[in-house]
Assembly symmetry: C2
Homo-oligomer: 225 residues x 2
DNA sequence: GATCCGCGAACGGTATACCAAAATGGGCGA
DNA sequence: TCGCCCATTTTGGTATACCGTTCGCGGATC
């Protein structure tokens, strides 16, 4: 069988259901029903829900059904502020400690993103995008940072995903990723940190714009896709 | 009854046991035994252990007993690096958004620390120290940041506690806290950020020094205290 | 007709029983 | 005498049954 624990597998399935919109924000997750639907018992389902709660994808209420999180713009912006300092720290560390293999990993992921940018569906494109950022953080050689960063990525995944499919600025993303990867490879501190900062600013702009132009319709649209 | 859920209460008791040394680093926590000892069932005990695992106080191994975390110097340094950027972010935000009440809260906690610095035992002194930092973060008006910061404080609590009792530089801590509080009150960005950075550097020096002069003996000594 | 009270179903919280994998210790063989 | 292997026991993982609380609905009353 798979090496992942059962709660993790359940969490993965639930996460995907939430992020794709199969479980829309505000929906209640009744552990009994969900467990039955997935053919597992309540205990691992319960644990899976806790995992997602700690990731910020569902909110727990005392003695009530957990709800799929429906973050406000402020909450997302707050998360982004934390993600920003985490990524900047990762970039700084990576500049110092990244091994050639790790640099190659980052560069390779960037090249892969360029390759698939024309054909890939948004979901695959995004998975690669996340992998790129994760590779940089992992090059920083700080497991705690990687873990926390990963949690914030998961928390922001839905917002990023939804906001990115309306603005088709993949070209800019690719250029910035390219600069970041090149900055890392050549240990060009200014280039890497500067572009990383720009990249995050752009992300924040996108998400803010997405929120301001009405979230509801787009959320529904994404759920159908 | 208490408003906190049972798993939280159990987690609190376990946390205290770990931080005071009653459960020394490296000890295994068998959920059956611990549950019996505390007079609860395995289910909430299990959940409590997960809470502490997410805080980094215990490490989970697949299909094995959880262990009380025994972080290496590198792990602690890694945690400190993350804590550093979190606190710096909190300071920046607090400079912008802190309300007069929040400033008063920070200042009040500093004054309280000055008061008790002569008499309080290390544990109480530390609780107040943490409350001071938490108050700054809470003034940043970013719940996600507060939550993550809190987790890192808990993770580092033991190291800070053990390293602080050997170096009696409470005077320096108090001076730096005073400057930080004053910087916040007068919205003096350079003062606040500068002193916060110094404060964290000093903390890192202390902890490094503590690790280098042999951890074992002191760990035992703390356990007896 | 609206409101309030109460009853019942539904849900999360907790306890417990069962299962499978892993560690350990003893015995058997080389 | 040393090492390997198997059985027993210990442990976490999972399923399920029970309990207390909460919320919704229906009826009775004002």
């Amino acid at each position: 069988m798979s090496s992942l624990t059962l709660p993790q597998q359940i969490a993965d399935r639930l996460r995907r259901a939430i992020l794709t919109g199969a479980l829309p924000p505000g929906a209640s997750i009744k552990e009994r029903d969900q467990a039955a639907e997935m053919g597992v018992s309540r205990t691992p389902m319960r644990e899976a829900i806790r995992i997602l709660a700690q990731e910020g994808l569902v909110t727990l209420r005392p003695a009530r059904s957990p709800l799929v999180a429906h973050p406000s713009l402020k909450e997302v912006t707050d998360d982004l502020a934390v993600l920003r300092v985490l990524e900047m720290l990762a970039c700084e560390r990576a500049l110092e400690t990244a091994t050639p293999e790790q640099v190659a990993q980052v560069t390779g992921l960037h090249e892969r993103m360029v390759e698939i940018s024309d054909t890939a569906d948004p979901l695959d494109f995004f998975e690669t995008d996340m992998a790129f950022h994760r590779a940089i953080v992992s090059a920083a050689d700080n497991p705690a940072l990687a873990e926390t960063h990963s949690a914030y990525l998961a928390r922001l995944w839905r917002s990023r995903f939804l906001s990115a499919r309306m603005r088709s600025d993949r070209a800019r993303v690719l250029r910035q990723h390219g600069d970041i990867a090149r900055g890392l490879a050549t240990r060009n501190r200014d280039l890497m940190l500067g572009e990383a900062a720009h990249h995050l600013e752009r992300l924040e702009d996108n998400i803010r714009h997405f929120f301001e132009t009405g979230e509801e319709e787009r959320t529904q649209a994404a759920a159908r896709a």
